[in-house]
Subunit: 533 residues, 2 copies
């Protein structure tokens, strides 16, 4: 293991973090974040954090002096995994120095401890959007400049994932299927240049869409600060908001344009969950590639089918699912059901996790459908998390083939995606490995969480203890798949503040595991990864 090279690369990550933190400094000035005074506590917390990042960067660069430039697969994996760990630690420092209050116990404000800082930081970088903060609108608890940093971690995390996909995740043996054949970039040149080219294009699309969304939201009435933070949260499929009621909070603040805001965010969430290669191809005038792509068609199909189901069940059933007056005209009822249904289906499927209304009040079947969507996720090559739509498509095709294989052992057939055969012999094993690994991690984490989290957490926060098993399962799914909200105690209007420290660490680990598609983190805990060459 070329540890010097790893160290040198991590040094750059530390510097980049410090640089990005600097962009949140101006928010400490009056007015920008909506506050009336200069936030000296937040300002100095950020300043100290930036200095820490710079020093850590210098130390890591020193340790890595004289490293050879040879980058093997192992070093690449170590850099990916460790830079995420490093970012989590450094990114949590502003919360700690800023003495951010995250909840109140018996009239006393409790400030974030190390565990809460790690959780919030990881939730940002992994674009999960789960939070331990119970009142983000309280400027005394949470300075606006640190709130800005919180949303910035989404932006950075989304950018990191898009670039990592090009550099690492899309290079695996199932790469061709996950990645699409036509990557942007000059095809005749070496893969190194092509990869860099692709990464730049993806980054440009990502930044461009974020900017467009921010402008649109600003035009719809949000302040510049709110618009930027929500654009970060949307395009990274993160879900951090600046309001306690998430995006739904604008229903009161901007009742005139609220519907428009909701539809705008829906469209951009769908875009954020779309493969960036296909968006690039659309931009250069090949929209047919997007419209004909089997993964994207399935993705849109799932959105439509789930929305229709949720609408139908909600309207036909008890009728309490959607919030409209009993005497509202039919058209208004349908529109509300469509908008709210679509919003939450898209929010969960793309793993964004924004809330518009409290979907935990929906009927059991609709809630079960949302849990099902959690296990699907966005498209490969997007900022969306989860297992990805393409893995499910391949999984179903492989299952079909393997069942046939059980009575025709001699027949060898390749899996086809839009007619093209995937000849990779490891494809089936890789997909099955991923699915079964997710099942195992989900089951074991659930058991551990039920074990380490006392029943008292439910009692104290007024939730029935009998819901512990299902609430815990949803919390595991919501963090492992980088969604954010789950059911019950971690429902749409709730948060992760009440959990004990060990559970918060478990969630932090799961968010990282899910975001880096398991392997880059799993290898880090394997002793032989560090021992052998």
């Amino acid at each position: 293991m070329n540890l010097r090279l790893v160290s040198r690369m991590l040094g750059i990550v530390a510097w980049l973090l410090g640089l990005t933190m600097a962009f949140s400094l101006p928010v400490a000035l009056p007015k920008i974040g909506g506050q009336s005074e200069f936030e000296s506590r937040g300002f100095w917390a950020l300043a100290f954090s930036i200095i820490t990042c710079v020093i850590v960067g210098i130390v890591l660069r020193r340790l890595g002096r004289g490293a050879s430039d040879i980058l093997y697969r192992k070093e690449a994996m170590a850099i990916v995994g460790l830079s995420w760990v490093l970012a989590t630690v450094l990114g949590g420092i502003p919360y700690y120095f800023g003495e951010v209050g995250f909840r109140e116990v018996e009239g006393q404000v409790v400030t974030m401890g190390i565990v809460e800082c790690l959780f919030e930081s990881q939730s940002g970088f992994s674009t999960t959007g789960a939070t331990v903060l119970t009142d983000i609108e309280n400027e005394d608890w949470l300075p606006r400049c640190i709130l800005c940093w919180r949303s910035s971690t989404h932006f950075l995390g989304g950018l990191g994932i898009i670039v990592l996909f090009v550099a690492v995740l899309g290079q695996g043996s199932a790469g061709k299927a996950l990645m699409r054949a036509e990557m942007p970039g000059p095809s005749k040149e070496g893969s190194q240049e092509r990869m860099q080219h692709t990464a730049w294009i993806f980054a440009a699309i990502y930044c461009g869409l974020t900017l467009v969304l921010a402008v649109l939201l600003y035009l719809e009435g949000l302040t510049v600060f709110q618009a930027i933070c929500h654009a970060f949260g949307t395009m990274a499929t993160g879900g951090f908001s600046t309001l306690n009621a998430s995006l739904g909070g604008f229903n009161e603040l901007l009742p005139e344009s609220y519907k428009m805001i909701e539809y705008t965010v829906i469209v951009f969430m769908i875009l954020a969950g779309t493969n960036f290669t296909l968006m690039y191809l659309t931009l250069i005038g090949k929209p047919k590639r997007l419209l004909g792509d089997p993964e994207w068609r399935t993705y849109i199909g799932i959105i439509l089918a789930a929305t229709v189901l949720v609408m139908a069940i909600g309207l036909v059933g008890s009728g309490n699912d959607f919030q409209f007056g009993e005497n509202a005209p039919l058209g208004e009822k349908l529109e509300t059901a469509f908008r709210d249904g679509l919003f939450h289906v898209v929010s969960i499927l793309t793993t964004t996790g924004f809330g518009a209304a409290d979907f935990d009040l929906w009927n059991n079947l609709s809630r079960a459908i949302l849990i099902g969507l959690m296990f699907i996720g966005g498209c490969a090559g997007s900022t969306g998390g989860g297992m990805k739509v393409i893995r499910h498509i391949l999984f179903v095709k492989i299952l079909r083939r393997e069942i046939e294989h059980s009575y025709h052992p001699s027949v060898v057939r390749h899996i086809r995606i839009s007619g093209e055969a995937i000849t990779d012999p490891d494809l089936a094993r890789n997909i099955l490995l991923y699915v079964s690994l997710i099942a195992l991690i989900f089951a074991v984490s659930w058991l551990v969480l039920v074990g380490i989290e006392p029943d008292a957490t439910w009692v104290e926060s007024g939730h029935p203890v009998s819901n512990k098993l299902v609430d815990s399962a949803s919390a595991i799914a919501a963090t492992l798949h980088n969604i954010g909200p789950g059911l019950g105690i971690v429902g749409a209007t709730q948060n992760y503040a009440n959990f004990t420290a060990p559970s918060k660490l478990l969630f932090t680990f799961l968010m990282m595991l899910g975001r880096l598609e398991l392997f880059a983190i799993l290898v880090l805990v394997l002793p032989s990864f560090w021992r052998t060459r």
Copy 2:
């Protein structure tokens, strides 16, 4: 597809069923089943069922006249799958002709419809032990001779699985790992004779142990009828009892010997979940093979670890888990906790599903542990259902290898079981396929069940609707893995009577799917299975 041969073999199955039904006829006479009068309704129901079996057998044999004797893999799979379907249908006839009452609605006895008959029959043959009958002690509702047939289906199902394992399930590509190298039988002869020899030996061990257990239970105070029925339920890892309170009912009937009965059943459940090859080797004087077997050691290890956990959590926690007086001496408390904890851990792990106390009153963590055990199951080559311990051992080894593979793609290592390498190249894919298929079936069935079963089922039976999601998940696990009881509405003291017909059919399908290890049933619904040669 050689359909004639399939038909001829199914004819034999029909005849065998009719023959076995005849053994329940004498129970209709007074006294044998504990009743005071001759049960004419039950007697004629059985008699008509026997006649139906004979006629169906004749028709199927006729249809299969002149079939060639060539048995390909496809025909073998079709025979296994279809004979299970046939047995389910024919085995349900006595309940239908017997007009068995299964529940009371507004003072009216409701008799079993076709769906209930199929469910109860499948639950018997698949050795699940889930029931729709709410009062099996009521002789007016359920004649003793039909109760005897109900337990007999366990015996037949267990026998069938033991024989099928030798003939079909153990022959797959992961066969060597699942089956152990040393199968009983003359090793130099052809595999056909060896297989038959093995099957006979397994059947002999199975019948022998059932007989020994029945005698022991009789000596401990059970009637002959009770002893035989419970021996059937235990050795098949089924779980049908003759008492409404399951085995726990003897606590009142036979308070003197109850502890002894519980321990006896524990020992025989453990044996029933043990690989029959290893029991054979122990019988011929090679007990070291059993004690050194990695699967059996893991199996025993899981039992001990789970028991200690359940005991510790139950005693340290609220203390309401186990039923002893508050002032009971410590020794008695420990013994009760040990006995009840061990009983339910073994009952769930071996997929028997007997109940001694209401484990649904246990704390959340202990209940979660039981759900975890549901996904493990007994040893391969036993009557125990579930995923089997050996699959989990191989799964963990494969995961470890594949994670190493992610950074060392060029290294090829074989999986080893007790030092011996398994060279089968398809092993990893097969195990991963099985695990991910179980995960998919579990998830989809859960969604379907939540969708088709109305909330009213929970309301009417007095269970909180908010438990629908977790209760449904446990019901799916309990039927797919052939256990029987789950949590909440299908808890230890509950049953499946309240579910609507579509849900009961879903459970019936899942029981069959799980019992035949998925593939023999999955191929039946694939059109190409029937089309191609």
